[in-house]
Symmetry: C2
Subunit: 321 residues, 2 copies
């Protein structure tokens, strides 16, 4: 990963620069609310995927499609703002969530503003009009899928019989398709062929699903201080995660922990799950998805950027933040 | 208006047909929630403006851009669904609002789904890619403006010193820009020149503002039974409408009626406002806007479609539903 982390840092700097220029210090409460979570940091992983996909298809093209890289971050952030309202979460990226700092109506609107801006920024890329139209179509159908995924996720919380297949279908929609769109949009805007765009789309889809599984692991394993989120919120809300599903298969009912937990109690749960082999099985599902995603990448000619994409996949399932 | 109403009926039929085909009877609760308000009727005025603008620029082009006409209706409906959550309204178009029939999270997501579909349908029009990109840009910046307008509108409810200028600025963003975009997008997709698109945009902007002023009048004047909405909700919520602003100038404080009112009490308020000249002044502002919008239209060559657009402006400020 020696090359990946400096690369991610440089992308984050570029994206932060654009966020600063276009979103921060604008007049009006709604503009401040729209900028709040956007400016609170974040790893800018989706923009990095957009840019690497573009450079994999056509080296040097990532500069032209930087606005589209920002567009993917805007899309991600709008979904977070709306999700936080639905889940009534109070903390995100180490800051108060938008509807907590302002109110629910302002949260809805702040998300809606970023939603619009995402489409505006795709249009601002330097690419053929035909590529832009295809990228916009892809982003739009992705947004609709994300909503279906979030709705599935919420409906799961009223059930305790969600199986692995349903879980993976939900995660594909809620998280996978946005990484797929990031890679696909980068490829399309850079002038990639249909098979190239498809290979990159499927790379993004598989790593995106792996990313979410890792996110569920982080929710349980990493302290609030380090992650910037409420720890073990999935346990507290009784969320049907792959951890809970695999635990149920082993006879461990994680729903008994559907309440506020102390750090010591959380550690005890982790030990129980580790001893039963749940943690290892969950990690294996994520790693298999990354292996699958690399198969799609291998259809593209080798390059520094392709290697970085493979490293991103690896990073997704080993990160602790 | 002998020609307008049959024309509007035929547009509504076309739009209803597309809604039926693409949105109604899809599986899944979220798809049902997204279709609910869309399928509950509505006058389909924005689609009519899209199609008339297209035909004014190039006769016969409206058929090619029908998906864009639907896109404007989807955009309008998504803003209604989100507004109803923010205002906690229970009734719209004679049916329960989405978040009332389902719940708040489903309401947010149902709106977000239609938001995405609007951009997808613009892409599905038959037009040059360049025109599509410009139309998408226009729709996106319009959506951001609508959010700002809705936020201004909500912030007004905590004040009692909003003046006519601020009110018109809010209405321009909340309602005007979507009619402007309807006319502008129709013109752009039909291959109109920049001056043609600008003239139609400004026609839409002015009539759109007039439309909202009439909507405020209808809220007060028309029974729930006829309008399908809660009557006098603006009074009950103490909304800073042009009626309230002009009444304040005449020494009538409408905030005293910020509570549930009987039909008899509402009639008494209307009489007081009529006697003080408030109703006439508010109507004149709307009529002047329509006259202004016709000046912009007069830059285009005369045609049956241009006449219908002028009739729509007139209809906007005379309708009672």
């Amino acid at each position: 990963m020696s090359e990946l982390l400096p690369y991610l840092d440089s992308v984050a700097k570029d994206i932060d620069f654009m966020i600063d220029r276009y979103f921060v210090n604008k007049v009006g409460e709604l503009n401040k609310a729209s900028a709040h979570l956007l400016a609170a940091g974040g790893k800018r992983l989706r923009p990095a995927v957009v840019m690497l996909a573009a450079d994999t298809v056509k080296r040097g093209s990532s500069h032209d499609i930087m606005p589209a890289a920002l567009a993917l971050e805007l899309t991600h952030t709008f979904t977070l703002i709306h999700d936080d309202i639905m889940d009534d979460d109070t903390l995100r990226r180490g800051v108060q969530t938008v509807h907590t700092k302002w109110d629910m109506p302002t949260g809805i609107l702040a998300g809606d503003v970023l939603y619009a801006r995402a489409f505006e920024f795709i249009c601002m890329s330097t690419a053929s009009d035909n590529a832009k139209v295809r990228a916009i179509s892809m982003l739009a159908s992705t947004c609709a899928d994300i909503c279906l995924g979030q709705h599935m996720d919420m409906s799961f919380s009223r059930r305790n019989d969600v199986d692995e297949y349903e879980y993976l279908e939900m995660v594909k929609k809620k998280t996978g398709v946005l990484y797929a769109a990031a890679a696909g949009i980068g490829a399309v805007l850079a002038g990639g062929s249909a098979p190239q765009a498809k290979a990159l789309y499927l790379f993004g889809l598989n790593t995106g699903i792996a990313f979410q599984i890792q996110d569920d692991l982080i929710d349980l394993l990493v302290t609030s201080e380090k992650s910037g989120k409420d720890r073990a919120s999935d346990l507290r809300e009784g969320k049907q995660t792959l951890i809970l599903i695999k635990a149920r298969e082993k006879g461990i009912d994680l729903l008994q922990y559907k309440r506020d937990l102390t750090e010591a109690e959380i550690e005890k749960v982790i030990n129980e799950l580790t001893d039963a082999g749940v943690m290892a099985e969950v990690k294996k599902v994520a790693q298999d998805l990354v292996a699958e995603s690399n198969k799609h990448l291998s259809l593209l000619p080798p390059s520094k950027e392709r290697s970085l994409l493979m490293e991103i996949g690896e990073f997704f399932v080993t990160r602790s933040y």
